[in-house]
């Protein structure tokens, strides 16, 4: 009896084990499908739990039920296996899809490289041909001729480049281009005339800042005399700022007056810089009056060969570095400046780079 019982028990235990195994496998498959790997420990626990439970149940369960359960487990196992297979297939498919695209890329690259190579070769050939046609002659005469030809060609090329258009190889094309150019020039001239007319009509309207300029002029002329400006105007391009062009000798006097006069009170220097106009140098100041909330531009033209002008650092301390900058880049000497130095480039720099005729000096080049 006891042997039989033992056998039965053993059988039941084996069945339970098989079932648990099947369950575990199924679960694992499911897990794989979900892509979760962190829960293995949890799953194992569950499996052992079910194992224990099943074996207990198995002890007093009918064989029919057992069979049905086994069947179900087998079915689940088969399903899981099928799923896994499918997955594997998919992954493989993805891999095989990835590889050819790489190959394609490489192919395209190779193709491009080959094309570039061919192009370069063609270019080299062309160049060689040109060189040959330029130098491969025996007589001097011919050589000169060829040189002239090459030069002409080069000139033409340059011109073409300058105009930025396509190469007009044929006479007809050139003619057409010339005609078009003439037409464009005519149109431009007409347009210019039109805009000039427009400007004239605009000029008739007084600028909103005209009264300001009149006021400045009146005050300055009352105190400094009639003959202190080269010209005064409203700069319409620059938000209608009243612009005063001082004479070289009266520049500092005017600046001082603009700052200290009670009616004007330009207590803020907004900007100071130099400009090389080739015929002369110019210093431009943009002043602002916080009292009246008004701006004025003060300019002075100075001799290009001997660019010297009084400094305004005594009036606005903020002019210190801007004047150094103008000295550094243009060579404008500001007289009575407390510390005129080459502020950006350093004292060993040769020449004034913002001048239009500047030639860089570099011993290593």
């Amino acid at each position: 009896m006891s042997d039989e019982k033992d056998l039965e028990k053993k059988k039941a235990a084996a069945a339970a084990k098989a079932k648990a195994e099947a369950l575990r496998k199924k679960k694992e498959d499911e897990k794989a499908a979900k892509g979760e790997e962190d829960t293995t420990a949890e799953d194992k626990e569950k499996v052992s739990h079910t194992l224990g439970k099943d074996s207990k149940e198995m002890d007093n369960s009918d064989t029919d039920e057992d069979l049905a359960k086994k069947k179900a487990a087998a079915a689940a196992k088969a399903k899981a296996a099928a799923l896994a297979k499918q997955k594997r297939k998919q992954a493989e498919a993805a891999n095989t899809e990835g590889e050819p695209s790489d190959n394609e890329d490489e192919l395209a690259k190779k193709k491009a490289a080959a094309a570039a190579k061919a192009k370069a070769a063609a270019l080299a050939k062309q160049k060689r041909k040109q060189e040959e046609s330029g130098s491969d002659d025996s007589s001097d005469d011919e050589k000169a001729k060829a040189a002239a030809k090459a030069k002409a060609a080069a000139d033409a090329r340059k011109k073409r480049e300058a105009s930025g258009g396509e190469s007009p190889e044929d006479d007809e094309k050139a003619k057409a281009v010339a005609a078009a150019k003439a037409k464009a020039a005519a149109a431009r001239a007409k347009k210019k005339a039109d805009t000039d007319k427009k400007e004239e009509t605009e000029e008739e309207k007084p600028s909103p800042n005209q009264p300001l300029l009149d006021k400045y002029m009146k005050v300055i002329k009352e105190h400094l005399g009639e003959d202190v400006f080269e010209e005064t105007y409203i700069n319409r391009l620059s938000k209608h700022v009243p612009t005063l062009v001082a004479k070289r000798d009266t520049y500092h006097k005017i600046a001082e007056f603009l700052k200290f006069n009670e009616q004007l009170g330009f207590d803020y220097l907004s900007e100071l810089h130099g400009t090389d106009f080739e015929t002369h140098m110019e210093v431009y100041l943009h002043l602002f009056s916080f009292r009246n909330k008004q701006s004025v531009a003060l300019k002075v033209k100075i001799d290009r060969d001997q660019p010297e002008i009084e400094s305004v650092t005594g009036l606005w301390k903020g002019a210190n570095w801007p004047e150094c900058e103008a000295y550094d880049l243009f060579g404008i000497k500001f007289l009575n400046h407390p510390d005129l130095k080459r502020i950006l480039l350093g004292e060993d720099w040769i020449g004034y780079p913002m001048r239009k005729d500047y030639e860089p000096h570099d011993v290593e080049v």
Partner: protein, 366 residues
């Protein structure tokens, strides 16, 4: 008997607290600075010289590299100068995009200042917070322009392209987020006693000094001068927004700190209004000729950058390149007052004062 001796010291040019390549030669007697001489020019790239051979559109990327912390305002100033000369009218949509970009840039710039300034004087964590929020702005501007710092976004007559879909909404959502963070900054730093002791009364100057030295921006407003070009000489469409000009009376580093942080809030106000007002017609470019030519003559315009008054002078011969272009760089002007501020100061205050000026060396050196 104690003998003291004057000693010469170099600060920079390679030192993080100089925010770039800025060198300061100082003479110290013990711990007291007797004399300070700034040495600049290490980052001079000759932008103005280079620009003489370039077309106007080609100059715009160079302006990105001057004040690289708020490149949008630099983009704007050159476009604005050329547009002023040409008398161009911009479509509203483009103007709003510009204003949004500039104000976001202003917030980002002030955030960098806030973070690095506190880092300079010994507080590390505000830097991390400030850069987190700045990163959000940079991402927004990156989406808009395709660049993180050097945007090259504006063009004469408008902007490079329209904002991507949903961008305006993102900006709208950013405003409340930034407000919340700003309140956090105040909790974290503004009331901190150590911080207050380091900045209160340090680097003080008067209104008269500020005007004498041509200071601008927060450096000027911290002395009580009510002056902001956005408000008082309105350019673009700034006259359509309701915002305040922030002033403080202290004239010290503490006042400058307060000004800058309050300006973040004002910029957020402008952004908030701009995202509501922006028309969605998608017109981001005015009708401009293919090759931009400024008419013969000269013009000087100035606008308000985060660092102060940035200006652009153009002398044109009517060609496609400028005959002469000059940038009024606010950091360059603002830095002039430094020797005066440092004289007689304690060494420990040097970095507090230098940082308070808020310079960008790319701009100082041009």
């Amino acid at each position: 008997m104690i003998r003291t001796e004057e000693m010469m010291l170099n600060v920079g040019p390679q030192h993080p607290s100089t925010h770039g390549v800025f060198r300061l030669v100082i003479k110290v007697d013990g711990e007291i600075i007797k004399e300070a001489t700034p040495v600049i020019g290490y980052l001079h790239r000759g932008t103005e010289k280079l620009a003489e051979d370039l077309q106007y559109t080609q100059i715009i990327p160079y302006t990105d590299r001057m004040d690289y912390l708020s490149a949008m305002t630099n983009n704007y100033v050159i476009c604005h100068a050329v547009e002023t000369m040409m008398g161009l009218e911009l479509p509203d949509h483009a103007e709003y995009l510009r204003v949004l970009a500039m104000e976001l840039g202003r917030v980002a710039s002030h955030l960098v200042w806030f973070g690095t300034y506190l880092l300079d004087i010994g507080a590390v964590s505000p830097f991390l917070y400030a850069f987190r929020e700045r990163e959000a702005i940079i991402n927004l501007l990156n989406e808009l322009s395709g660049g993180r710092l050097t945007f090259n976004y504006m063009r004469v007559g408008g902007v490079k392209w329209d904002a991507p879909e949903g961008w305006i909404d993102k900006v709208r959502d950013f405003v409340p987020y930034m407000r919340e963070q700003l309140a956090g900054y105040h909790d974290l730093v503004t009331g901190n006693e150590i911080f207050l002791n380091r900045v209160k009364g340090v680097g003080r100057y008067t209104k008269e000094d500020a005007l004498q030295y041509s200071l601008s921006g927060a450096n000027l407003r911290c002395t009580g001068v009510d002056w902001d070009l956005r408000k008082h000489e309105p350019y673009s469409i700034y006259d359509r927004f309701d915002f305040d000009v922030i002033t403080r009376d202290g004239g010290d580093a503490w006042a400058r700190y307060q000004c800058r942080l309050a300006e973040i809030e004002e910029s957020l106000k402008i952004i908030e209004q701009a995202v509501e007002q922006i028309p969605d017609d998608g017109k981001f470019m005015a009708k401009v000729p293919r090759i931009i030519k400024a008419p013969k003559g000269e013009a000087f315009v100035r606008i308000e950058s985060p660092r102060g008054e940035i200006g652009c002078y153009i002398a044109s011969e009517g060609k496609k390149e400028p005959y002469r272009i000059k940038f009024r760089r606010p950091s360059f002007y603002n830095l002039q007052i430094l020797p005066k501020l440092l004289e007689g100061e304690n060494m420990a205050n040097l970095i507090t004062i230098l940082g308070g000026v808020d310079i960008v060396l790319g701009e100082v050196d041009g």
